[in-house]
Amino acid sequence: MFLSMNWISDFVDLSGLDKLELINKFSLSTAEVENDIAFRGSDISGIVVAEIKSVENHPDSKKLHLLKVDAGEAELVDVVCGAPNVRVGMKTAFAKVGAKIGEIEIAPRKLAGYLSCGMCCSEKELGISDNNDGIMDICEDVPNGTDLKSIYEIDDIVFEVDNKSLTNRPDLWGHYGIAREFAAISGRELKPLDVVDLGAYNELPKLDLKIEDPLCYRYSCLRFENISKHVSPMNMRIRLYYCGMRALNLLADLTNYLMLEMGQPMHAFDSRKVDKIRIKRFDKPFSFKTLDGAERDIDENTLMICNGDTPVAIAGIMGGLDSEIVDDTSSLTLESATFDASSIRKSTVRLGHRTDASQRYEKSLDPEMTVPAIARFVKLLLDIDSGAVVTSALTDEYAFKYDDIELSFNKAFVDRYTGIDIENDRIVKTLTALGFGVENKASDFKVKVPSWRATKDVTMKADIIEEITRIYGYDNFAVNTAAVPLYPVRAEQEKTDEDRIKDILVKRFSLHELHSYVWAYYDEYKALGIDIEPNVELVNATNPNIKTIRKSIVPTQLCQVKYNTAYAPDFGVFEIGRTVEGLNSDNLCDEHKKLAITLFSKTKGMEELYFELRDMLAVIADDIKHEKLTFEKIEEKSSYKHPKNLNAVYCAGIKLGEIGIANAQVSKKIDKKANIVFAEIDVGEFAKIRNAGIAYEEPSRFPEIEIDLSFVSEKFAPIKAEIDAANCPLIKKVSVVDTYTDENGKSITVRTVFSHPEKTLTRDEVMETVDGIIKNLEAKGIALKG
């Protein structure tokens, strides 16, 4: 919304104050002012009123005229002018030699062979309207040579406030409400609105009006006749233009002017079409032509203004074409009303059409404003067109009145909320300036909220704090830390684990952390041949490719790996992100926090890469929980997982996730020569595992005995199981020192380290245990390598 300082100054005397400083304070106390403050009129000077004394056609041009104009100086001035509307006796805006319009300085110059000593200007050239049809036609009876700026408000400071920062302030949608803020900020007084006494028309007949729907809170109207003026005064047109509206005709301009001044939208109907005003909704949808000529679909939830049963306007949004004021309209009915805000908002959304009126109604306008707005309208109309006649009494139905709001609080409440000491006098002064009724006894306050703040905006004590503090100025606050009791803060296990996992992967394994989206990537999955697993779906995403929530991070990570194949021959990426495993029994999403790792390599063998990843997981488990991992083969058909080497990962009896190899059909599409492995771990499950702690064992001072045995076996696990089953306290370490494959199959060389805390072991002492293990393994078909 654009705001004019001239307009504001109608209601509060700001003379002698720095306007920019005030606007800045307004920005900090009320609503954000956009940066581009316009100094309207500052770029034009030397424009005077001049009268055209003679007009001759240019001998060689159809367009140009040769004028002699009286600019109030001793001699008439020769001017060459191309405007079509020149005529003898016309008064116009004249830029004398030396005048400035924007970057141009007017100087005598030859135009089509004739000397021109000045320029007649259009309103557009002066920047006071978008009318460029011809040079300005001035009706004011002023001497030639009068500075145009002395009769018109061309100089103005116009600033813009973002509408979004006014959503909660219905009172700020007009200049009068804004002026109240400037009054409070500057400490100057707000002047009352100049209005007529509508009581003077009480004897006239009332209009036929009935509110038949609770969505209309108040409807006030008045009838006029005999309006003879059709063009608004220049100053009014300039203000409308500066505030972003086009001047149309007097009545339309007046309703717009009132809306910009008081925030009250108004509408004028042709009385011939509207003599039985009913406000209601219809049972069935229908089509309605609005005054912009558009056919609009009206449904049963849209509130309409009707003449009897004939709809004539969409309440609060736009009038109908049929009841619009036309050239031969002699009698008009002025509407000033208030409607249910959310109904207007919903209708606006349904119609897909937002108007200056509807965006005000959406904010919950003050119903107390409808009648003063009419009184102000009549005042302005009669000032402009003294022949206009009011032909009805004020007709006003007030169906819904907001409750009066009174709030009580004390100084201690204010002190506690602000943390500073704002004096009682200052509280009273601020609230009074903002229109609140204030009673203050000692440190107790009783406040009556003004009607224009009581529709939703100010309802409780905390709201009063805002009023006091914003005018006090947040820049003036003393800043203090809080005095609160101190207690230790325990970190959340999951969060700590997450941080440590990241550190291990980045610092020890040189992986890169990436982020991806929480939904499946349709196009990218398709390109890699990855199926989208059915899961919970989004219902309203504007992007059609955003729909299914992912069950696993791995597919999105594979897409990222594909994107990065040129980055390096070997790299690894990881993400800790969310996945959803369908809905739980409460119909809520079963959300999980997962760690996904993908390794990509063009230089390492698949087995080497796979074990590298396996060891990363093992280090995470050992470092953070001091626990070992175990694995269990998974049989699963998947579009992106390789059928072999897919293993479930367990730790301390809890299933954490899985580790696997990318399915060849996917990895071929990513890079024909690369090996790709992945793992995914549930961080939430991992966090449940207790840290077993470091089990310190004092090293024996006596020598250890190492026994190396080679077994014919495909897997190490059964060998390890038998060694563990021996339950021998002397066994300190079991490791695989070699594997090889020959015609007898695969052999694994296992080194078992024995140690005694108090003596040097002999070979014989440990061989009993070793023989037992060998015997048990042989019983299971695992023989010693011969």
């Binding site: 920005s27 900090l28 009320t30 940066n35 979004k164 959503t167 302030r169 908002r345 919903k346 959406e362 506690r416 602000t418 905390a462 709201d463 704090i465 503090t469 947040y474 820049d475 606050f477 800043v479 203090n480 809080a482 005095a483 609160v484 009791p485 207690y487 803060v489 325990r490 959340e492 969060k495 941080d499 992967l505 980045v506 610092k507 394994f509 040189s510 952390e513 990436l514 982020h515 989206y517 929480v518 919970v536 779906e537 989004l538 219902v539 309203n540 995403a541 504007t542 992007n543 955003i546 994107y563 990065n564 980055y567 390096a568 990426v573 959803v580 809905l583 809520l588 999403c589 959300e591």
Partner: protein, 350 residues
């Protein structure tokens, strides 16, 4: 006899001179001092001497023996030393000027900025909370004083799921759960609620260089008996000064958010121009950074906390925006792109 001894000695010294390695030296040692060595051989001549002469000769030979032994030991040391020196001299001089190999892992920039913020608040006794990304309508709106049909719901273009849940549009969605989690210790034990909760948020909108449908915020709340606007300004200013490692000027403007009252928009002096006005701050000298305010009484009530007894502040910091400002990331889409060319640069930043 002594002439013979002298000859032997001279011969020994000559031989020793030519020895330049351990093998040669050992050969000399065996030749002179071995069981059948030349020095031992000298004693064979003694049988023809008088006891008096024997005594003198014996002493002479012993002296020679000692002398030879010492010389050999001396020579051994010299050879050892020469060998070490030769070994040292074989070491080439490296070209240390070749570029260092800096290949290592990297954190996502959001992680770095998030950790910096977490550290600051942890140092002031705030708990770091975590919350789900999918929340209920109640958590995201109702509990935050945003009832159905409230215009504020239009401001949030929210992603809804088929079961009625939604992807959280702001981290404030975690507020209610945080209050409920800590209210008992607040009310019964007098422990103030001090918590931050960073998290991923979603808005159903088209993406461009400045807009993302997935981004990070960090919410912070503090609730106790006397938490004030003055405290709020202090904590915001402190945090931002720590994050940017310089004294940051902040200013508060009224801002409307249904879950705070009074509500503010917090601006910081432009980091690029320091407040003079430049293209980054649209010549205003200020950057809008963080909505905040005093927690709305209805929001406290929904969390089981009596607003007559307790007050608190809340803020929502745009972590994504902060990371972009801090590292000069110009296109917000780079953050979720997964591009290692961009993201591998964020190795660490504490």
């Amino acid at each position: 006899m002594s002439e013979k001894t002298a000859q032997l000695k001279a011969a020994f010294l000559d031989a020793l001179d030519t020895a330049d390695n351990m093998e040669a030296l050992e050969k000399i040692r065996v030749e002179y001092l071995g069981k059948k060595g030349l020095v031992t051989e000298l004693l064979k001549d003694m049988k023809n001497l008088t006891p008096e002469e024997k005594k003198t000769f014996g002493q002479t030979v012993n002296v020679l023996k000692e002398e030879v032994t010492d010389k050999i030991a001396e020579k051994r040391e010299a050879i050892k030393q020469a060998e070490i020196e030769r070994e040292n001299s074989l070491m080439p001089e490296f070209d240390i000027s070749v570029p260092a190999n800096l290949e290592r892992g990297s954190y996502h920039p959001i992680t770095l900025v998030q950790r910096q913020c977490e550290e600051i608040f942890k140092s002031m006794g705030f708990a770091v909370e975590d919350y789900s990304e999918i929340v209920t309508d109640y958590e995201c709106f109702e509990a935050l004083n945003i009832p159905k049909n409230h215009p504020a719901r239009d401001m949030q273009d929210t992603y809804y799921l088929e079961n009625g849940q939604l992807l959280k549009s702001h981290t404030s969605a975690a507020q209610n759960a945080i209050y409920k989690k800590y209210k008992d210790s607040l009310i019964n034990e007098g422990k103030p609620i001090k918590a931050i909760f960073p998290g991923r948020c979603f808005r159903n909108e088209a993406t461009d260089a400045c807009h993302e449908n997935t981004f990070f915020q960090m919410e912070g709340v503090m609730v106790d008996k006397n938490i004030s606007i003055s405290n709020l300004i202090f904590f915001m200013k402190t945090m931002l000064s720590e994050v940017f490692q310089k004294d940051i000027k902040v200013r508060l403007r009224p801002g409307f958010f249904p879950f705070v009252e009074p509500g503010f928009e917090l601006d910081i002096s432009c980091l690029i121009c320091g407040g003079e006005g430049c293209a980054s701050c649209k010549h205003s000298g200020w950057l809008e950074l963080c909505p905040c305010g005093m927690i709305h009484p209805e929001v406290l009530k929904a969390g089981g906390i009596d607003p007559e007894e307790y007050t608190g502040f809340a803020f929502g910091l745009g972590l994504t925006r902060l990371a972009m400002m801090k590292y000069g990331v110009r296109d917000i889409r780079d953050l979720n792109s997964g591009s290692l060319k961009s993201l591998s640069q964020f190795t660490d930043d504490k």
